[in-house]
Amino acid sequence: MNLTVNGVTHEIESSPLTTLLDVLREELGITGAKAGCHQGGCGACTVLIDGEPRRSCLMPVGYANGGEITTVEGLGTVDDLSPIQQAFVHHYAAQCGFCTSGMMLAGQSYIAHGGSDDAEAIQKALGGHVCRCTGYSKIIDAVAAAARGDSFDLTETAIGKHTTMATGGAE
């Protein structure tokens, strides 16, 4: 079997029943996809297989044989962040960061399939991903901004859509 991960082709030795996640992390040492549950329940391990988002912890590598895999490492580099990565920085959509790669890849696929900045549509597309830190709102903002094609100032973060700042209170 072989997999092309972020443009590099690897021969795979693991059994076809091994999860794609374990092949990526343990056989190939590519650690961007995270093992959040190994149950398909959290989405931290989501990668793109031929452009489609899939839970790599549910995917027997035998079913991904010959496929083009994109992990977070394939989205952009530190010096050249992809739009969705820029959006996640600018909108403060990552806190602990553990769900982030799965969220971004699902968002990337949503946008690649023509997804708009409509919050409900984003919620539906990314709905299976769990984030325990952010309360989701800034993740949705980030995906929406990337879907719109916003350009991002990476020296500061965006004010939340529903935030009001007050000083000193009523006293």
Binding site: R25, G29, T31, G32, K34, A35, G36, C37, H38, Q39, G41, C42, A44, T71, V72, E73, L75, G76, T77, V78, L81, Q85, F88, V89, H90, Y92, A94, Q95, C96, G97, F98, C99, T100, S101, M104, V130, C131, R132, C133, L154, T155, E156, T157, A158, I159, A166, G169, A170, E171
Partner: protein
């Protein structure tokens, strides 16, 4: 000021979005052994036999540890606060919750470790479980610890946390209405997306490098050093980057055991909890049982509060005495109640030990007292915002244990919210402030609790 107050992106934001942040599970050390635990299948049982020989003999198994391998088996996480130890690192002769670790195996891969765990020879003698805090005090209930079913080591060896303020009898005598209710928030999981993970590498220097997802590097280092009975310079904790914690990664649930396995095997070891272990065996936010009775007047003053709290600690005390004390200090919420009688108990049950979680000790009491406040408003037919403003704590008021409030913003946060939701307040409520009480806001029953003006 330019930097403070600025919306600067996360220090580690670019690392997060490029997958370059190194969590413990991403650390790669060649030759690392995988760890699996033998955990109790029973809620409560005696261990009548424990023999690991068959597991040790499996090829690929490099170390098996039980309680016998732990230099200091019981160490109280809050010993510095005078809270004694009651929990063994690995169960010795008794298991008190389902999922309690008994033995651990380090092997060449996870499957061998799992196989070895299944070969550990162990017998249990099941005992009845005690699960309902409301029955813990019944003499016929199953006994969890030899000293009983509740923690007995508060100051002066009191068996409860107590708060007394003012004259509770007077308050209930003078009340127009007494509103009584029971509040029971549930146990919940922290459920960080990163499960508990630890990697330990024995170094040539004789030190141990412990890659940890702990929320508290030095705290956890202290716990490991105590169990191992080594000085701190024997250990190096590497971490500071945690895939979510919410309180659950203060427990130091993996580090000591991994250190022991690394020492015994002489090899690097790694233990990553499965999501099932995280959900079924990791400590939780505690369930609480709270009974409240407030003595109130018909125009909405709260004269006094009686409260009983049973904190369902699970099988061991861990941080519960601390959490209950914090709870007791905040049992009036954002209000000034001059007459108080609070009694709280840390009650053991045969469930997973509970621990700190976001809002520790106070999340529960906020739910109880604020729901109760809404009920009081409803019973009295008073606007729920006005009754809150009326009883709000103000500068110069004192907390349940007599501390002076210096800059409360209860009044302004409530007024701001009233405005935001379009709730029109009468003029006197709209113009209230947190300044020290005078006039109509200083009825006779609130005089005694206010601090001497020189104190604030």
């Amino acid at each position: 000021m330019k930097v403070v107050g600025a919306r600067i992106p996360r220090y580690d934001g670019v690392a997060h979005v490029t997958g370059r942040t190194t969590y413990v599970d991403d650390v790669r050390v060649p030759g690392t052994l995988w760890v699996k635990a033998l955990r109790s299948p029973h809620h409560h049982a005696g261990i009548t036999r424990l023999d690991t020989q068959a597991a040790e003999e499996i090829p690929g198994v490099h170390a098996v540890i039980t309680w016998q391998d732990v230099p200091l088996l019981e160490y109280g996480h809050l010993s510095a606060l005078g809270i004694p130890a009651d929990e063994p690192l690995l169960a010795k002769d008794e298991v008190r919750y389902k999922g309690q670790p008994i033995a651990l195996v380090a092997a060449d891969d996870w499957e061998i470790a799992a196989e070895a765990v299944s070969r550990i020879d162990i017998d249990f003698e099941e005992r009845p479980a005690m699960l309902d805090v409301r029955q813990a005090f019944d003499p016929e209930s199953p006994e969890i610890h030899r000293e009983g079913n509740w923690y007995k080591h508060f100051e002066d060896e009191m068996d409860r946390r107590q708060i007394r303020k003012g004259d509770i009898e007077w308050a209930f005598e003078h009340a127009d209405t007494i509103v009584q209710g029971v509040y029971r928030p549930a146990a919940i999981e922290h459920a960080p997306i990163e499960t508990q993970t630890c990697q330990v590498v024995p170094e040539a220097s004789g030190r141990l490098t412990i890659y940890s997802c702990t929320q508290a590097l030095y705290f956890s280092m202290g716990v490991v050093a105590a169990h191992l009975q080594v000085p701190l310079n024997k250990l190096k904790f590497v971490g500071g980057t945690t895939g979510g914690g919410f309180g659950g990664k203060v427990d130091t649930a993996t580090e000591t055991m991994c250190a022991l396995l690394a020492m015994k095997s002489g090899k690097p070891v790694k233990w990553r909890w499965t999501r099932e272990e995280e959900f079924l065996c990791s400590s939780t936010r505690a369930p609480w049982h709270m009974e409240l009775a407030d003595a109130v007047t018909k125009d909405g003053w709260i004269l006094g509060r009686k409260m009983l709290t049973l904190h369902d600690a699970g099988a061991y005390s861990r941080f519960s005495p601390y959490g209950l004390t914090k709870h007791s200090f905040h049992h009036t919420g954002a209000y000034t109640i001059p007459n108080l009688q609070f009694d709280g108990y840390v009650v053991y049950t045969n469930r997973t030990p509970t621990t700190a979680m976001r809002g520790f000790g106070v999340t529960s009491v906020s739910f109880a007292t604020e729901t109760h406040m809404s009920r009081i408003a409803d019973v009295l037919g008073i606007d729920p915002i006005e009754i809150r403003l009326k009883n709000a704590n103000r500068i110069g008021d004192t907390s349940p244990n007599g501390i002076v409030y210096t800059d409360p913003s209860t009044v302004s946060t409530i007024q701001t919210m009233a405005e935001a939701i379009g709730h029109e307040l009468p003029a006197d409520y709209r113009t209230m402030t947190s300044e020290p009480r005078t006039g109509a806001l200083l009825p006779e029953h609130l005089v005694a609790q206010t601090a001497n003006p020189e104190e604030h």
